[in-house]
């Protein structure tokens, strides 16, 4: 009979509490729920292999890893192409106004391209905050002081707007 180790129970509790949020962070970056879940599962697998679920830093680690893993995936050219093909297929099967859907998808693609061009830290700050993490949680995930988060966010927002504008000016 298999025995359940305390760490397995702790991992299940951590997974139950954090999976949706970790997947949400990845989805915020990728704008693709299927790919976001892939990333979230890989993040949990990596975590489980290397760390104790009862570690104090577990949540912060997961949040940071989700943001970075998704941003790295966003930067992968081949994956980006695949994602765009998948999104186009998804778009063709949706019943909403096709013209509107095309615009929404184009906006998402443009913003994600801008996000991929940003430096990792500002991009992660934006994504974590937009995923509903508090300033304290963003600070823990990125290893900065809570007081720095506001400034980092402002700069990151400005950088994203510039990148989006740059992307459309060509």
């Amino acid at each position: 009979m298999a025995t359940v180790r305390p760490d397995d129970e702790a991992f299940e509790a951590l997974f139950t509490a954090e999976y949706a949020r970790v997947a949400g962070i990845a989805n915020r970056v990728l704008a693709d729920p299927h790919e976001a879940e892939d990333v979230a599962q890989e993040v949990f697998i990596d975590f489980h292999r290397l760390h104790s679920a009862s570690a104090q830093y577990a949540r912060a680690w997961l949040h940071r890893a989700a943001a970075h893993a998704a941003l790295n995936r966003l930067r992968g050219a081949r994956r980006r192409q695949r994602r765009e093909v998948a999104q186009a297929a998804e778009q063709s099967t949706q019943s909403v106004d096709p013209q509107k859907q095309v615009e929404v998808n184009e906006d998402r693609r443009r913003v994600r391209q801008a996000l991929a061009r940003m430096a990792p830290k500002p991009a992660a700050v934006l994504v974590l905050r937009a995923s509903g993490l508090s300033y304290a949680e963003v600070a823990q995930a990125l290893g900065v002081g809570t007081g720095q988060v506001g400034t980092l966010l402002r700069r990151a927002e400005s950088a994203l707007r510039k990148e989006v504008t740059r992307g459309t000016s060509f």
């Binding site: 997947a23 704008a31 892939d38 913003v111 506001g150 400005s158």
Partner: protein
């Protein structure tokens, strides 16, 4: 502070109530934040927790149960990294083997010893001569940040004053509390190992059966520069990145032994078949084995030179081609290492300016 109530205190709030300038800035910033939130809108995500958990649980078990998972290697770099891994293994074995009976092995300085792949294979056979048990298992962890790395290891991560051009400033912290291993030599195991090898190895010296070597390694802390992200699909393994630079510090390893003297162990190592004359000479040349940490240098893959680092003797490995180099030194009871895909001159410069 504008969009998180927990991020400002009551004094901030009072000031804000009475400051039109702050209110105007708040409005602008809130407008920006709202615009960015719109930009970052994402399609709805519905998760199936149970099936996601099943997929995660059914993932294959980790290969290394402890320690950093090495980034996947470009095929062309494998020999060098294998040599590096073998070097680390040999450091542990040599340090263990050179521990003395009466004196505690507690290195205060460092010396390079040239080893061949055959040497490493020969030395590694020694590990079959007994039983290794961990009284405190190594638990190398990736830390979320510098403070956490310090809290895990009790050591302050060394600060790099200036990164060489081309090295990413993305840093990952790794830390390990102290680990303690006990190796018990066994006459029966040695005989069995020799028989299995088909090439009888020398018998254990008298008194060595049952001798215990207790080795303490760490605590240790490392800063790993570079993008360490793993590829997300197994078909794209070659897209993974190697660390560009690793800066690490660890308490110097300490070993104590019972029943056998350092001379016995040294003589014994030199009788193991396959040990090269260069290694034998280098081991014999170590003046005080109880205070010198030998750094095996794979002669097929690396060069070693003695250098001065932060006023003490160190060993510089590799060359100036930028393919890979490092420097190792011991100061105030701590072993420091700077290793990376950088020039040797850069490694020495980083080492001299670590704070």
């Amino acid at each position: 502070m504008v969009d998180d109530p927990d991020a400002h205190d009551s004094a901030d709030a009072r000031h804000f109530e009475s400051c039109p300038e702050c209110q105007a800035r708040y409005k602008a910033v809130a407008g920006d934040a709202s615009h960015v939130a719109t930009l970052l809108a994402a399609p709805e995500l519905k998760v199936d927790l149970a099936s996601a958990f099943d997929r995660v649980r059914s993932a294959p078990a980790a290969q290394p149960r402890f320690g950093l998972r090495l980034p996947v290697l470009q095929p062309g770099r494998r020999p060098m990294v294998l040599a590096f891994a073998a070097t680390l293994a040999a450091v542990a074995l040599l340090a263990t083997a050179l521990a003395s009976g009466d004196n505690i092995f507690s290195p205060k300085t460092i010396t390079p010893v040239p080893v061949t792949v055959a040497d490493l294979q020969s030395i590694s056979q020694l590990s079959a001569y007994g039983d290794l048990t961990w009284t405190t298992r190594p638990n190398l962890q990736i830390a979320a940040n510098e403070a956490e790395a310090q809290s895990i290891s009790g050591l302050k991560p060394p600060k790099v004053a200036k990164l060489p051009t081309g090295v990413s400033s993305t840093v990952t912290y790794a830390a390990m509390p102290k680990a303690v291993a006990v190796f018990t030599f066994s006459k029966a195991k040695a005989a069995a190992a020799a028989e299995q090898a088909g090439k009888p190895l020398p018998a254990l010296p008298a008194g060595m059966d049952g001798a215990k070597l207790t080795v303490t390694i760490g605590p240790a802390v490392a800063e790993i520069y570079g993008n360490l992200s793993q590829p997300s699909s197994s078909s794209d393994l070659t897209q993974a990145n190697l660390p560009q630079l690793i800066v690490a510090t660890s308490s110097a390893p300490v070993a104590t032994s019972t029943q056998v003297s350092v001379k016995q162990l040294e003589d014994y190592i030199l009788t193991v078949p396959g040990i090269s004359p260069q290694l034998a000479a280098a081991i014999k040349a170590i003046g005080d084995p109880s205070t010198t940490l030998p750094v095996p240098v794979p002669i097929e893959f690396g060069t070693a030179t003695r250098v001065q680092v932060q006023g003490v003797d160190g060993v510089a490995l590799g060359d100036n081609t930028g393919v890979g180099s490092g420097v190792i030194w011991i100061k105030n009871g701590l072993v420091y290492g700077v290793v990376g895909t950088i020039k040797q001159s850069d490694a020495i410069d980083i080492a001299n300016h670590l704070t």
